[in-house]
Amino acid sequence: MPSHDVMPNMELYQPVQVEDALEIADRLAERGWLVGGGQDTYGWLKDRAKSVDALIDLSGIESLRGIRETADGVEIGALTTLTEIASSDVLKSSYSLLTDAASVVASPQIRNIGTLGGNVSQDVRCWYYRRGLSCYRAGGNLCYADTPQGMNREHALFDASRCVAAGASDTAPALVALDASMVIRNGGGERVVAAEDFFVGPANDIVNTTVLRPGDILTAVRIPNTWAGATFYWEKVADRNVWDFSLVNIAAAFRVSDGTITDSRIVAGAVQTTPRRLGNVEAAIRGQAKNLQTAESVMTMATEGARTLAHNGFKVPLMQNLVKRAIAA
């Protein structure tokens, strides 16, 4: 078993215009790999668990950076670092749900280099898959984690379909809760996809975790002002307080009037491949007081349909408790 820690030989493209990057991505298609901060990329490639012919380094494209206020919200360039997002006054003032989530991704060093585009596009963190085993997601015909003896403490509670890997992004649930949309360009033009539809579960696509396809570049994330300044709740529970992935996280936005919840978007992360929006809970609390009593009355609804594996049963009470805290806070 080779154990590598240097990059394999490959071509490197470093475009400085998004148009050039699109042309290269289109030309290379499956043979190319887009890289921003590289915090997901380099592990895959150095481990030789995935291989490509060429890297397309987007980090020189300035137009993909920055946080811009727009007429109906904000637009965040996909190459904006997580540190820039976490420290943005514009975002903190109106969309603190996202800054709270971005501020606890991984570690300060990773946030300094990791980008929003990379954070939402990162692959799942199943250790079997990352090891390069030939599982369903890697093109094989079995799942190593979904067995009675599989080591699946971090894996999914919901929406498993052959693959039981959980999503790893902390910003993804926040963006879904904020009703964000993703701006995607390719050689054919631009399309805008709701964050909720951007992420794809294994039942629909066993290989990809987003709608991005070869030739596509995620250029920006738009957050509408629909939920600007709402009552937000973010919490991440991980074993360690830094440099760790969520065991479960919760991102919630509430509209509250006189103590009554008039609307909400509640999204859990790390419980399935995609951010899990808790529509049944949202419906149940609409018109209810935002307090502990309401929270306790609906918390178990959050995990309806959960299918636990051998070692991830703890995620059920943890998810319920986080939903409770979000509503009661």
């Binding site: 078993m1 154990s3 919490e235 074993d239 307080n241 703890f314 943890l318």
Partner: protein, 812 residues
């Protein structure tokens, strides 16, 4: 009044570590050097059938490969540098390939085909003990050490692999948390009348426990670089120790002690995994000799997980009898160790911790260490003692509560005292002041007030207060010292102590300056490479260096001091007893004007020769020290001696910890609000470094009790968490920023400088105190597991079946 001992100073290697100028093994390059990388096993068990490296060897830049066939054969239970016939864990090195660049070497690895024959494997020691259970090795599953007397009447200690199975009922029993009646053990000892001890107990606590192994993950992977010149091997290695490597590494390479230059200026952590030469050093040394080129074998982070050793896990059962007054009357202890692919467990050391914590009137220990097809296991900071401390602390609290005794008072009553004993043979100690440490710690922590606070903090938060004890044997005897004053008047302390990050090489060198009343600025420490003439030294493990080498440097310095006086008497009249020292001079006690400087004495020693300048030396010096003295002979006034200071018993290193936490019942998360610890380590030699040790150990104690563990998939023998982030050592955000610590600071009577070691129990104290606090926060619930992770706490609080399931294996 001391000049150096007990005072802060800057060890000479610190500026280089801060600026990055100091060199680690990987930083050394040599003209013509080639880069070697290893190919490791993808299988947990099997044997190599064929290696086809032809395609790799045809690549431009590839200069060769090395396999097990190129190394001296190593049969089980030895741990081979390169495996062939016995592949016993995923990640085990099979071969190395060398090339003119790292990139070429890595590419070459992908072009080598290795054909394996698979064998059965096992990751759970209890499964291996089950009738019909699989074995790690074809010949068995248990490492057995025994004494064997040959035909010549000479008794030697031998280690061999045997096949031991338990009755199914015994396996079922220990899985269910009960005494495994009928199980066979390989280590057993007892003292006192066990039945009588339990009979007089007012309360009995009977609990199962499991501790999970985890990797050392030394920050500096064990990269090595070697080259040969004129028959000598120059080896740049990464070791905790310096001189302790020479004899073993020379044997490994098949050369004379005098033909090895071991170079190791600084080491980025070892934690027990680099105490002496490790098998993989052979790859570098032999490969360099075969290729006749300098070879750097760089170990990747993932490979460091595989070959960098790990703490062994254990599953056990304990029964504790406590008398009405709180005195522990009897202990019965069973431990099944997970010894990984190297088979060694720390059960006996765990039992030793119990003897120190309880001083039971009677005790029985039964242990067995089982091979599993997981990474090699070895000593890791307080091996056995610290993980036992973590699971024992909540049980101790339960025992105290059972007889209505305060938890601290219980520990005070039962803990080791100077007239007490440690271990199954009830051996004496040099001194011990656990009770005094508890008193001091309780005051520092304000234990009584904190323990009386309300537990419920509202908003799902509960408070827990814990107390714990860390212990490890902390010193050895019989090593050598070598000091020298040169005609320029400078003192040279030749230290064979390694630079593993504890700075004990510098702390113990201060002893020589203290004895000779030499300003520190005029003192040089000769260290870092064996051709600087370094004496025989203990390995820098087992918290022993402060005690061991302050004594060794003391006796060598006293030898030099006596020679100073002899020379002065010879030249200035009178007897040596008429002289004293001060101001870098030796002078008559009754006439300070009559004397000579150290520089003059050194020059005079060269003229006198013989024992004064190192041409002659004591016969009882170690061979390595003799080589070192020969190397400096004629350069000045030389002091050398073996530590023959009389005395008996082992010095203990004791630390008590007090911990206050806030536990969130919704999330299972713990926040450490306060931690105070007090060491009983004799005289504190270097206060600043004492602080560092207390803090560093505290951090890793959090890892042991709350975060770190091996995760192996029993289906395929694959480890899940090979990276540092996956292994989850604590970060700065997981531990308190401000902690309190102190020392009893009562000198140990068997060290002229008063010090004992403190490295290992610092971790055990926090591990125990935190486990005690978690239990306290949860109304005395016993997880009986180290670590107790977030998911376990949530499962317990949610009533999930964690707490009622049979014991988990010690890989998850």
């Amino acid at each position: 009044m001391t000049t150096h001992i007990g005072h802060d100073f800057t060890p000479p290697c610190v500026p280089g570590k801060v600026t990055g100028e100091i060199k680690y093994a990987e930083d050394y390059k040599r003209e013509g050097m080639v880069f070697a990388r290893i190919l490791t096993s993808p299988l947990p068990a099997g044997r190599v059938v064929n290696i086809d490296a032809s395609e790799a060897l045809r690549m431009d830049g590839v200069v060769g490969i090395i396999t097990a066939d190129d190394l001296p054969p190593v049969a089980p239970p030895g741990n081979p540098a390169l495996a062939s016939e016995y592949v016993t864990y995923v990640g085990q090195p099979i071969l190395a390939v060398a090339a003119t660049s790292e990139e070429i070497a890595e590419s070459a690895l992908d072009r080598i085909r290795v054909d394996f024959e698979r064998r059965d494997f096992v990751t759970d020691p209890l499964e291996s003990l089950t009738p019909g259970g699989k074995n790690c090795y074809p010949d068995g599953n248990v490492l057995v050490r025994s004494n064997r007397t040959g035909e010549d009447g000479v008794t030697t200690r031998v280690a061999e692999i045997q096949d031991i199975k338990w009755p199914q009922s015994a396996v079922d029993a220990i899985r269910a948390g009960q005494e495994p009646v009928g199980g066979e053990f390989t280590t057993e000892w007892a003292f006192g009348d066990l039945d009588a001890g339990f009979a007089e107990a007012a309360a009995i606590v009977e609990e199962p426990f499991v501790t999970i192994g985890y990797p050392h993950h030394s920050l500096e992977a064990r990269t090595g670089m070697a080259y040969w010149e004129n028959g000598k091997c120059y080896f740049h290695g990464s070791s905790q120790s310096q001189s302790a490597n020479n004899a073993g590494l020379a044997r490994m390479l098949g050369i004379d002690l005098a033909d090895l230059v071991f170079i190791n200026e600084a080491t980025g952590g070892g934690f027990g995994s680099k105490i002496g030469p490790y098998p993989f050093m052979a790859i570098t040394g032999y490969f360099s000799r075969i290729l006749n080129r300098p070879v750097q074998l760089r170990i990747t982070r993932e490979q460091e997980f595989y070959i960098g050793s790990a703490r062994s896990g254990m599953q056990g059962w304990i029964k504790i009898g406590v008398k009405e007054d709180g005195k522990v009357s009897a202990v019965d202890l069973v431990i099944v160790n997970d010894g990984g692919a190297t088979g060694g467990g720390s059960g006996n050391s765990s039992a030793q911790h119990v003897t120190v914590a309880y001083q039971p009137e009677t005790m029985r220990y039964r242990g067995i260490s089982v091979y599993t097809n997981t990474t090699p296991r070895g000593a890791q900071r307080g091996p056995g003692q610290n993980e036992m401390a973590a699971v024992l602390a909540p049980m101790t609290d339960k025992a105290a509560r059972a007889v209505g005794v305060d938890r601290v008072a219980f520990r005070r009553l039962n803990g080791l005292r100077s007239d007490g004993f440690q271990g199954g043979n009830q051996s004496p100690v040099t001194s011990s002041f656990i009770a005094e440490a508890l008193d001091q710690g309780a005051r520092m922590f304000d234990y009584a007030a904190k323990d009386a606070q309300p537990k419920d903090l509202g908003n799902s938060k509960v408070r827990g207060v814990g107390v714990g004890l860390g212990y490890h044997g902390a010193g050895g005897r019989g090593y050598d010292g070598l000091v020298r004053i040169t005609p320029d008047g400078r003192l040279h302390v030749h230290s064979g102590v390694g630079n593993l990050g504890t700075y004990s090489y510098a702390g113990t060198s201060r002893v020589a300056a203290e004895v000779l009343q030499m300003p520190w600025d005029n003192t040089d420490i000769q260290r870092g490479r064996s051709d600087r003439h370094l004496p025989h030294s203990s390995g820098q493990g087992g918290s022993n260096t402060i005690f061991t080498h302050s004594r060794a440097n003391y006796v060598a310095s006293m030898d030099l001091l006596n020679k100073l006086k002899e020379i002065a008497a010879m030249d200035l009249g009178g007897s040596a007893d008429d002289y004293e020292i001060g101001g870098e001079r030796v002078y008559r006690s009754d006439d300070s004007a009559t004397g000579m400087t150290y520089a003059q004495a050194a020059q005079r020693a060269i003229q006198l020769g013989g024992r004064f300048s190192g041409e002659e030396y004591p016969d009882d010096l170690n061979d390595l020290t003799k080589l070192a003295v020969q190397g400096v002979a004629g350069t000045g006034l030389v002091g050398s001696a073996r530590d023959n200071i009389p005395g008996q018993g082992q010095p203990p290193g004791n630390v008590v910890g007090f911990c206050e936490i806030e536990l969130d019942k919704d999330t299972g998360k713990i926040e450490i609000l306060d931690y105070a610890s007090v060491a009983d380590c004799g005289t504190v030699v270097h206060p600043k470094n004492f602080d560092n040790s207390m803090r560093g150990g505290m951090v890793w104690g959090v890892g042991l009790t709350n975060l770190e563990r091996h995760v192996y998939d029993p289906q395929n023998g694959l480890p899940a968490n090979t990276g540092i982030y996956q292994s989850k050592p604590p970060t700065n955000m997981d531990v308190p920023v401000d902690t309190q610590h102190g020392a009893v600071n009562i000198p140990d009577p068997q060290n002229p400088m008063g010090g004992r070691g403190i490295g290992e129990p610092t971790q055990g104290a926090m591990a125990a105190a935190l486990a005690s606090a978690i239990s306290d926060a949860l109304e005395g619930h016993l997880f009986n597991s180290a670590p107790t992770t977030t998911d376990m706490i949530i499962d317990h609080l949610a009533g999930n079946d964690y707490s009622t399931k049979s014991l988990k294996t010690n890989t998850f």
